[in-house]
Amino acid sequence: MSDVTIAAPREEDVHRAGRFVFWAGIALLVLWVLVPIWFLFVNALSAPSEVTSFPKRFWPSFDLASLQFFWNFQGVTAALWNSVKVAVLTMVLSIGMGAPAGYALTRFDFPGKEFFRILVIMTRAFPLPLLALPLAVMFIRTGLDDTVLGLALVHTMLALPFAVLITFSLFSGIPVELEEAAWTLGCNRLQAVIKVVLPLALPGIMASAVFAFVISWNEVFAAAVLTIENRTLTAFLLQSLNVSPLPLKFAGGVALVMPALIFIFAVRKYLFAMWGIANR
């Protein structure tokens, strides 16, 4: 009897084993994503002496000295503030230019429409941070070098294609009949957009704005090339990598990660819709 069961395991057992592998795989993948972030936080929430000691504990001591050291380090607050300014400006510029373009692509049929769309998609096949090299020269001539606006313009170039494509699909999802109804009730085109379309599209627009913010906040190469005095946080951390002590690096890492985590959480509902769209 027992020989038989060994030779041919019951289907139920196979099923159970398969389920175990499935959940173990999920657990592994989750750990793979979360554990490295956990290590960064352990370092940032431990005292500087613990960060450089060995062997390390895997639990933070919740000593804020590392973070304080980072916060009081010369240039950090200015860099943080610059990062925020550049990211907000990027957000405003990319949505301000992207949303009208997205609207035009949805609601009108006109010669050159397809050309513009392909143009926007094509920009993604280019390594955009490299734009910082020629623009560095152009900015020196126009007085935009080492300014928040100059860097924001480059970051806008990174975020604009996304803004156009995302708003394009957002507006496509809003029935044109709603607008037409507003026209018959006496609204002109602009009023109909402001009173009918925008309120409906607002959550999505906010999500793509957040996306633009994160793109700018995280960008390293262009920020490091284009700023000298007015460094953003990424540029500051990069330029001081080989001179700064470990606790500063890890606290800086946490400062970089935190806003991104919060923002991604805030737009999680739109994440997949947006990428699904930017895909077409």
């Binding site: 490295p36 373009a101 623009l135 560095a136 090339v225 990660v257």
Partner: protein
């Protein structure tokens, strides 16, 4: 007026693309081919003549060749796993998507926390009794460890972006195709390779192009983990622009990165070409 409206709406974005995309790329091309105002290929010969060039080139290419396939498999696994879940789907998706919001510099710092001399890898090995004293992993004597650390950090950071695109793409595939295959007796694996993968080609295209481009732009991760010990193309571009103050050679490097990006984008487009009638 009504005719001109769409063009007016597209105008800001178009002007912006012209000024900050086409013009600067033109400038890079010119800059790489001129020196002191004269047309020459000297920038390229200087670049290739430097001992670091071939190292940087092959490091970048190998990095992409190793990282991208691993990520493709991981992203497909993550996406399939998530598709099969009934509960906890959105929570799991959020966890898998977290690295999407994390800057490459922060990712480099996170893996630095693991690989540095008093880091967590040493601590884990010590706790397991494998080593007595901390090992120096990221030194110039062991380039391959730096390379491995960069690979891991890149895989950790950028799998999410492919996963999100693939999940979005899988959502677009009508369920009926899979059900039909099941009715005809296709196994799970057959359904995946014969139904899902072919229908997923547009998403795979986008995911691969985006990812390969990012792989050629690898920069901050490498700087965070290995400084300039492990040369890569983007890092060399930065070095020539900043430390050596030679914009011509930096532009030549930019052209190499651009060339690689465009060439591989075309290869991906060709390999995963979807005829117009076959799209869903």
């Amino acid at each position: 007026m009504a005719r001109a409206l769409p063009y007016l709406l597209l105008l800001p974005a178009s002007l912006f693309l012209l000024a900050f995309f086409f013009y600067p790329f033109g400038l890079v091309v010119v800059e790489s081919l001129t020196r002191g105002g004269e047309w020459t290929t000297e920038n390229f010969s200087r670049m290739t003549g430097h001992w670091k060039f071939s190292q940087a080139f092959w490091n970048t290419v190998w990095l992409a060749a190793i990282v991208v396939p691993v990520q493709l498999i991981m992203a497909l696994t993550m996406a399939s796993v998530v598709q099969k879940l009934k509960t906890g789907r959105s929570g799991l998706l959020y966890i898998f998507a977290i690295p999407l919001g994390i800057s490459d510099l922060a990712a480099g710092l996170i893996w630095l926390a693991i690989f540095e001399q008093s880091g967590f890898l040493n601590s884990i090995l010590h706790a397991m009794g494998v080593i007595d004293r901390p090992q120096l992993f990221l030194g110039y004597q062991s380039l391959w460890v730096i390379f491995l650390a960069v690979c891991l950090a890149e895989i950790w950071r950028a799998t999410a972006i492919m996963m999100v695109i693939i999940v979005a793409g899988m959502g677009l595939i009508p369920k009926e195709y899979n059900e039909a295959a099941e009715v005809f007796g296709a196994s799970r694996w057959q359904r995946f390779t014969k139904v899902t993968l072919p229908l997923l080609r547009p998403s795979l295209q986008t995911a691969l192009i985006l990812r390969i481009l990012m792989a050629f732009e690898v920069f901050a991760v490498v700087v965070a983990l290995g400084g300039t010990t492990l040369p890569v193309l983007m890092g060399e571009t930065f070095q020539w622009q900043f430390q050596l103050q030679d914009r011509g050679v930096a532009a030549a490097y930019a052209m190499v990165i651009l060339g690689l990006s465009v060439a591989f984008s075309l290869v991906v487009l060709r390999l995963l070409h979807v005829p117009k009638g076959a799209r869903i």
